[in-house]
């Protein structure tokens, strides 16, 4: 942490007094220094991404109950020698009851990316969406209710302007932690619309009939230091934590955001069309072409826009933790020729994302997994190509945690190729990162039941008599990210850390 930030917080704490305001600026809590940063991307598998419909797919020939367990015809399952992972290339003329043909080929993705993939099995504690989502990021409140994102932002984001950004909202994945001692700067910041949000990152540029930067700065200073202190409102309510928070944001955080020219650097959209940036003295991000090439549907697919902004937030060192993912809204890609129902691959996100499995399990899982693989692939491409400045890439210090919420029921009506499933506690998570053991499965799947089983947290050896707890996944992720967990009481899970 910089001295200036400490000084600022100390002054604000004094301003806020010893009442409720003190909890906002708890100096005792801000003890950890920023280290060589690690970056966390939480990719939300919203609605329940089933791990046995992803990299742990079962072949029918492996199971004693092939007709009733969720497994696939052997011919559809691709595997790789020496790898624990599989991919199911699937096509169908409908996604459950939606007449939308689709064709997905995850074998391409796993063929390229499995070297940086670790899957750890997990048995959760809730099949309520909101609760399970929250437990995916708190390890079921394993460490005073702090979230993974907060802990990464706390440790590595002290100098970042907006360390912990959430690009998807309204889910348990976006919850704030419950530990009031987490410093304000590490709390989540919700960004509702990645395309227009950068316009809120400069007070004057692009404002029609606005003021010059020098005049605006003087006006702000006059307001903060001359006018406001003379109003009775400010005098009477000067101990309000809300006012203290607001005044804090007007200070160093605002200056940092505007000084970095984030209104330009984070602007995904190109100049023209719905974004006539040039007419307003603005411009597109210098990295705009690169991110738009990787996420071309940024203007119509919210997940592409989220992923594009996620990369820019990391590249420009605005954030150290970014949370993104599909929400439960239907996303449809216009264009394309329809021969029977909707055009092929036109449904990008079925209603309820993975939870569409209630209506069409196999197709819903295939389509949404494929959607997430595309996002992971794009982010890895961009991050691997981005030099961190010391000869390493951004990817070398990044973790993409695919938080799966919960699993789905493991059985199906005899021989069914499409059916509906309910929620199931038993599942697993995916982690893409050079910080975890690659091409590695921790735990395993019982092919006769479709249930996953755990592993030894120290050696990583599969243990069919064991289930992995949420707190262990939480602790293992923190360990891989080199977060200081001393005094936390969290279990030690060195198996999740690359040697």
């Amino acid at each position: 942490m910089t001295q200036s930030r400490r000084d600022m917080l100390r002054q604000l704490a004094a301003l806020a007094g010893v009442g409720a305001g003190a909890s906002l600026f708890n100096l005792e809590a801000i003890g950890q220094e920023a280290k060589d940063p690690r970056f966390l991307i939480v990719l939300c598998a919203s609605g329940g991404g089933s791990i046995i419909d992803g990299p742990l797919a079962l072949r029918e020939s492996e199971s004693a109950n092939p007709s009733t367990v969720n497994c696939f015809p052997d011919s559809l399952v691709t595997g790789w020698s020496g790898s624990p992972f599989r991919a199911v290339d699937l096509s169908s003329d409908a996604i459950g009851p939606i007449p939308a043909p689709f064709s997905v080929k995850p074998s391409d993705f796993f063929g390229r990316r499995r070297e940086d993939l670790m899957v750890a099995t997990l048995t959760g504690t809730s099949v309520n969406h909101q609760v399970a989502q929250r437990r995916s990021i708190t390890g079921n409140e394993a460490w005073r209710g702090r979230t993974l994102q907060e802990l990464v932002a706390w440790q590595y984001g002290a100098d970042a302007p907006i360390p912990n950004v959430h690009l998807v909202a309204g889910m348990g994945f976006n919850d704030s932690g419950t530990d009031a001692s987490v410093p304000t700067y590490a709390r989540r910041q919700i960004v509702a619309d990645p395309l227009v949000w950068p316009l809120s990152l400069d007070g004057g540029r692009g404002v029609q009939g606005g003021l010059s930067p020098e005049v605006l700065a003087a006006v702000r200073g006059h307001r903060d230091n001359q006018f406001e202190p003379k109003t009775r409102f400010d005098q009477i309510f000067k101990s309000s934590p809300r006012l203290a928070e607001w005044k804090n944001l007007r200070g160093a955080p605002q200056a940092k955001i505007e000084d970095l020219d984030l209104i330009t650097r984070l602007m995904l959209a190109p100049d023209g069309g719905n974004f006539p940036l040039g007419e307003y003295g603005l411009g597109s991000s210098p990295s705009g072409d690169a991110v738009r090439a990787v996420f071309p549907d940024y203007a119509t697919d919210p997940l592409h826009a989220q992923a594009a902004l996620a990369f820019l937030l990391l590249k420009y060192r605005v954030s150290v933790s970014v949370t993104l993912g599909p929400n439960f809204s239907f996303v449809f890609k216009e264009g394309g020729e329809a021969t029977n129902g909707l055009p092929e691959n036109s449904v990008l996100n079925p209603p309820l994302a993975f939870d569409f499995s209630h209506q069409g399990h196999r197709a819903g899982q295939a389509v949404v997994w494929s959607r997430l693989y595309q996002i992971i692939d794009g982010l890895m491409t961009l991050l691997k190509a981005e030099d961190f400045g010391d000869g390493t890439s951004f990817w070398d210090r990044t973790m993409i945690y695919v938080a799966t919420e919960f699993g789905r029921e493991k059985t199906r009506p005899s021989g069914a190729q499409e059916w509906g499933t309910g929620h199931d506690l038993n599942n697993g998570v995916m982690v893409f990162s050079p910080l975890v053991p690659g091409d590695t499965l921790l735990g395993g799947v019982d092919p006769d039941t479709g249930l996953t089983y755990g592993f030894d947290p120290v050696t990583g050896d599969p243990d069919p008599g064991r289930e992995t707890a949420e707190a262990e996944i939480f602790a293992g992720l923190l360990g891989a990210l080199d977060i200081d967990t001393s005094g936390s009481g969290l279990p030690s899970v060195p198996a999740m850390r690359r040697a």
Binding site: M171, L216, A218, I236
Partner: protein
Amino acid sequence: MRPDLLLRGLTRALLTVAPLAALVFSSGCGGDEYATVSAKARVNAKSGSVWGRDLANGLGLQEWELCSELGAYDCISEAHRITLGGVEPTVLGIDEPLPNASVSAPIAVDRVATSACGLRFDRDKAGGAAVIFGPVLKKDNDRAREDVADTLVRRLLARESTKAELESLVALYDTLAPISTDLTRDGAVGMCVIVATSTEALFY
């Protein structure tokens, strides 16, 4: 003690204290020296839509005229809706305002106020019945500036101004003089932005 005697005693005590309390709390215009401090300091932020409505009413503008990003995205209802404490449950799934101020909220507020105040000034200057800035447009001197400052406080904060506030607002011109190329506009719009984005305008 008999209830009637207790009641009489309390009444006498209240009658003794009441004039003193009235003196302390009846601050009115110029009464800022009697300001007290709220021990609980319970303050809430106005949502963007409420603040925007207040701003539009104060400046004599329609809400949709306040600010438009890139000429296409209404600042209050679209571009900065969530940032300014709004909700959008249908698509975004945000059915409650953010519990804490967004880091970019003060910046967004400045953008909206600058745009709206600038528009009000330009309209007043364009002719017709000036709503706020008539005095400085007619003759830009300290008296006119104070009149405009007084109007801004009355219209945007819905109360009487104090002498100290007016002096503070007019002093903005001295601050801007060395850096402004159009002091009449910058000073007037600047005073408007100050009042419109003050904590009193944004919180209740």
